[in-house]
Amino acid sequence: MARQIRIALRNCGVIDPERIEDYISRDGYMALATVLTELSPEAVIEILKKSGLRGRGGGGFPAGLKWEITRKVQADQKYVVCNADEGDPGAFMDRSILEGDPHAVLEAMTINGYCTGASKGLIYIRAEYPLAVERLKTAMKQSREMGLLGNNILQTGFNFDIDIRYGAGAFVCGEETALIHSMEGLRGEPTVKPPFPSVEGYLKKPTNVNNVETFANVPVIINKGWEWFASIGTEKSKGTKVFALAGKINNVGLVEVPMGTTLREVIYEIGGGIQGGKEFKAAQTGGPSGGCLTKKHLDTPIDYDNLIAAGSMMGSGGLIVMDEDDCMVAIAKFYLGFTVEESCGKCSPCRIGNKRLFELLEKITQGNGTMEDIDKLRNLSTVIKDTSLCGLGQSSPNPVLSTIENFIGEYHEHVKDKKCRSKVCKSMMQYLVVPEKCIGCTLCARNCPVNAISGERKQVHLIDQEKCIKCGACMEKCKFNAIIIN
């Protein structure tokens, strides 16, 4: 039986997040104390590098290396930023950590400040997370009162304090350069990297940006040692990953599993299988930037590199399970709809290209697609990925490419047979009267809002497909099951 191991979530559900004593009783702030009194910044960075911890915000960049780069840049002022923007639809890992264990993030940011030479930390959090903000504020107040944050921490002479900044909720503001511009009061749009924030970030100063979950791992690594952490996971992906299980799965919720756990274990053992005993079709990881994993990926160990190889990505940890009732073309369209809404509009391939992708998918789901449109989708997707300025556009076509790759049959059915096997794409459906069953009661005709049904009393009725708006009222009303969907 696959087990979850809770590292980032170790205190969530265990301690009262509003009581610093609870946190301290579980070794809270011990890592900070050890670091400040016994370890040099280089030594801490070395521990982190050896632990193999990689960024949990999506990119998977080695955390220790990022800290080291930020440390090495000379500057009079540096910043630590905690990225709590969490814009993936359906993702709430970061929120849960902040709500359940705020001190862990504060402690890790302070350790980061010590390592990089920063004295100021900023938490960029979406304004839609009021409870997390409240708990952070409470935690900050408590740790300041106990001399664990602010000036002269633990009387070691080290100063570090943290402020909260509110995000306006745009998905792209989670991208680190956009996040920084947003904090600077500028338009929340990305800029070309390099320069990376570690070299030139907030107010043009070196800025170490890490994700909430990345930070939450740090204190335990210090306390338990890098060897312990590195013993969990796969060769290149160490530790655990928190996933928000959603979709057609029985146990919707937050899980934390060792890297290398298979999709099958996550879905069937931890997630309790598919709702209603239906058949698994695909799982989307990486949110709108990811792709779908299919049956053939069920036994692939989940880690950064395997997911990329499978045409998806780790992303921040959304995992949405789809079953036979989900139409993969519609799924791709759903994600593109999100990207079109969330693109900042700065670069042309993302601004216009994603819109065109969406329109093509719409055309196909409406039954008007051509085979040429599928080629266009492929070319456009490749070019958008290849030319977009930031990670949003560089990954937004993934859902299209991976559904084409894995479910080309469904695309062909939509285009050639004008059929949606999952009966999701309404325009392809036809409501039909089964002549053998219809007794001519006229109930359907009287309930059709657009008068699309004709037929004399006691005669078989007929639905005019041109007029039908596919509302389904007739089918609902018919007492003889004489109306079916084709």
Binding site: R3, R6, D27, T37, E145, M146, Q155, E256
Partner: protein, 129 residues
């Protein structure tokens, strides 16, 4: 709260708190008590954990059952919110899902008071670092 002046004072405080915490669950310890943790993260609150929390706090004291009721963050069982965890001294914690005040009443009367096995238990499927 007093300022911690060194790693030593932090360690001392931790040990004190740890001992206090351990005592809570030790069967024969005079300090031991029933512990009830109610999930109060956004998802829990949204599905109604606040009334459950209030109910537990008020009713346990009204019914003269000594217990420590506290709020905690997300336990991960979003599909079964609100969830609560009950630890009887000397026993392993038990997690209940889909708890409303009616269920909470049942938990108090049957599980806590009488030690009966009731349904709605969620298997604990993780270990914690």
């Amino acid at each position: 709260m007093a300022i911690l002046e060194s790693i030593k004072s932090l360690t001392e405080l931790r040990e004190k708190l740890k001992a206090k915490q351990a005592a809570l669950s030790q069967k024969d310890n005079p300090q031991s008590t029933i512990q009830v943790k109610v999930t109060m993260a956004t998802c829990g609150i949204a599905s109604g954990s606040r009334p459950v929390y209030d109910f537990m706090k008020e009713e346990l004291s009204k019914r003269n059952i000594p217990a420590l009721v506290s709020q905690v963050g997300c336990m991960g069982f979003c599909y079964a919110e609100p969830t609560i965890e009950v630890t009887m001294p000397g026993k392993s914690p038990v997690i209940f899902g889909f708890v409303n005040t009616k269920k909470a009443d049942e938990i108090i009367e049957r599980f806590i008071r009488k030690g009966e096995v009731i349904d709605g238990v969620i298997p604990m499927n993780y270990e914690t670092a």
